[in-house]
Amino acid sequence: MDDLLMLTLIGVLFLAGWGLAWFCERLSRRGRS
């Protein structure tokens, strides 16, 4: 059970990084439009 929790947390960390990248990309598009 704990293993599943930890692997889920790893997924959440990835999404946090990807989410920040998405946010930065959105900001750059807004700057260009």
């Binding site: 960390l13 946090a16 990807w18 920040l20 900001l27």
Partner: protein, 607 residues
């Protein structure tokens, strides 16, 4: 001792520059898209790798692709390291028969080694099988260092690229290299060759390299020690107050651990990773056997962070740019090193009052083969860079001596910093300095011919602000919650320093610890792991966005009316910016921690 310190520092600087200058030229070649095209050997090694991985080494990536590749690669690394720790009991090369690492600790360690932090909440020689040490931890030492250098290459390419040669919308616009190619080439042609030679030097000096478990040896005389008394179930026996009952024991033998130490030690220092095979890290004689290895280890920690800054100067076509950044880093590091040295020359007034000899300075927590000079230099270098290896216990430094590693970490790992991370984080500060100066003189800020605009400063702001937010919120939560306070071993200002150090070290991906905080708990294992990840990728992602945005910009070659970004004036401006933005954030916390402890110690000692 003072002469010894300054002579050692001079020798160190000379050897460092003599090694870093040629290495910087090699880094420039490795970063080139044309690397190895005329070498049959390079082609023979790389071509099968590209074929297996399905990569076209000539294809470039824009920043979102580069960043996604980097994130996927790193998250897969976390999964691999986590699973290896969890199943190590059933795998070979586990001579001591270690069981699976507890889930929270395994998660913390996996994130820690992938983010180049190497914070260790466990004792390596009592927890990790040799296979885990080699296949999980050492491999990540190489790959996390390669990731840092790759980001530095990408940002430099973004600054160098002449946008006007590749019109917006064309296939070549905004390309900043290929992550897979960068990681493979840095690992194969920079890190591995140096580490092979380095490991052999360490073995020659007495570091061990074997696959043995524990060897029991009979000591010259029995060792007496106190240990908690345990019942038949192996649980500690408690007295009426709930405290463990201690018993006095003697033993005629000692368990000496074996393992592949030298190979891990080499990349631990060279990659500014810092995670030791042993709990005592570089204070252990098998990791750092002699004064000579101590000198070499200090050199190897700072070698790549120095070389990449000089390589930056070469890549942008103006070596003065590299020397300017290096000068700013060196001035701050030497100043901090001197503060630590002079603080440690003075022993604790309480020990002096107790009749302990004062002529060697504050010797608590230091190895006799390194002394105050070797320990304080190491402490400043390992925390100025984001290495985190330790050869002395920073917790035992005098309050001001301990404030030096703490402050160097909190500055954001820009005083040389980690492999690659030092350069790209310092470049974020360079852009801030140029922006502030541009506002002051009323001109559009430009760096290396590229205009710094609103979007760039937004990315710079995210990169600079995210780390202190995580550090201060984490430290505040630890002080507010019982789970956080439970780990403190010293009450008062020193306890605050322990907590601030833990969050600062994790978020800035240093990994050293103010020994004394019990961080192997669910609260710290999970909290610090999240901090490490946010500190690492919360900086990398905006830096990559910055690289992509810069790559698409036109580069102006005209120097008329531009503020020069080299020379003593800019060095001063850069140092001022680092301190204003980086250090002032933490002044209240530093005042309540080491500063208050220093005043308490010497005020009580005064008659």
């Amino acid at each position: 001792m003072q002469t010894q310190f300054w002579l050692m520092l001079l020798l160190f600087a000379l050897v460092l520059v003599a090694l870093a200058w040629p290495l910087s030229a090699w880094l420039v070649r490795v970063a080139s898209p044309h690397f190895g095209t005329s070498s049959r050997f390079v082609q023979a090694v790389e071509r099968p790798l590209w074929r297996i991985a399905g990569i076209d080494p000539a294809s470039g990536q824009r920043w979102p692709q580069y960043t996604l590749a980097l994130l996927v690669f790193n998250v897969l690394g976390v999964v691999a390291v986590y699973l290896l720790q969890r199943v190590q009991a059933g795998l070979p090369l586990n001579p001591a028969g270690f069981s699976a690492v507890e889930q929270g600790s395994a998660f913390n360690t996996a994130v820690s080694f992938v983010t180049n932090t190497n914070w260790q909440g466990y004792a390596g020689e009592q927890t990790m099988a040799h296979l885990t040490q080699m296949l999980a931890l050492t491999v990540q030492n190489f790959l996390s260092a390669a990731t840092g250098l790759a980001v530095a290459f990408a940002l430099t390419r973004g600054l160098v690229r002449r946008g006007q040669e590749t019109p917006a919308g064309s296939a070549q616009a905004g390309l900043i290299g290929n992550f897979w190619v960068d990681v493979v080439r840095i690992t194969l042609w920079v890190l591995i060759p140096i580490c092979i030679v380095y490991s052999l030097v360490l073995v020659g000096q007495g570091s061990i390299q074997n696959l043995k478990g524990f060897t029991e040896v009979t000591t010259l005389e029995p060792t007496a020690y106190d240990a908690p008394k345990t019942n038949a179930a192996g649980q500690p026996v408690l007295d009426a107050q709930g405290k463990p009952v201690m018993e006095h024991l003697t033993t005629p033998s000692q368990q000496i651990p074996g393992g592949p130490v030298a190979s891990q030690e080499a990349i631990k220092e060279l990659g500014t990773n810092g995670g030791g095979f042993f709990n005592a890290n570089s204070a252990h004689p098998f990791e750092n056997p002699t004064a000579l290895t101590n000198f070499i280890e200090m050199l190897s920690i700072i070698l790549l962070p120095t070389a990449i800054v000089l390589a930056f100067g070469r890549m942008v076509g103006d070596t003065r740019q590299g020397w300017t950044i290096l000068a700013a880093m060196a001035i701050v590091l030497v100043a901090f090193m001197a503060v630590a040295f002079y603080a440690e020359l003075t022993p604790s007034p309480r020990l002096t009052a107790a009749g302990v000899a004062a002529d060697l300075g504050n010797f608590e927590g230091k190895e006799t083969r390194f002394g105050v000079v070797g320990s304080t230099m190491f402490a400043a270098i390992t925390t100025g860079t984001s290495c985190g290896a330790v050869n002395a216990m920073h917790d035992s430094f005098m309050p001001l001596g301990g404030a030096v590693p703490l402050t160097l970490i909190l500055l954001g790992e820009v005083i040389f910093g980690g492999v690659g991370t030092g350069l790209y984080t310092m470049l974020v500060y360079v852009l801030t300095a140029v922006f502030i100066a541009g506002l002051m003189i009323g001109r559009t800020p430009e760096y290396l011919g590229k205009r710094i605009e609103s979007y760039d400063m937004k990315m710079v702001s995210i990169a600079i602000l995210l780390t202190p937010i995580v550090v201060l919120c984490g430290a505040a939560a630890s002080m507010a919650l019982e789970a956080g306070r439970a780990g403190i071993s010293n009450p008062g200002p020193h306890g605050l320093s322990q907590i601030l150090y833990a969050w600062g070290s994790s978020t800035n991906n240093n990994g050293s610890a103010f020994a004394g905080l019990n961080a192997n708990t669910r609260f710290y294992n999970l909290g610090l792991a999240v901090a490490m990840w946010l500190g690492r990728f919360g900086t990398i992602v905006p830096v990559m966005a910055l690289a992509g945005n810069m790559a698409a910009k036109k580069r102006s070659e005209s120097l008329t009316g531009k503020m020069p970004t080299h020379g003593p004036l800019f060095v001063g401006l850069l140092i001022g910016t680092v301190f204003l933005v980086g250090a002032l954030t933490y002044v209240p916390a530093l005042a309540l921690g080491p500063a208050a402890e220093h005043l308490q110690l010497f005020a009580k000692a005064a008659p």
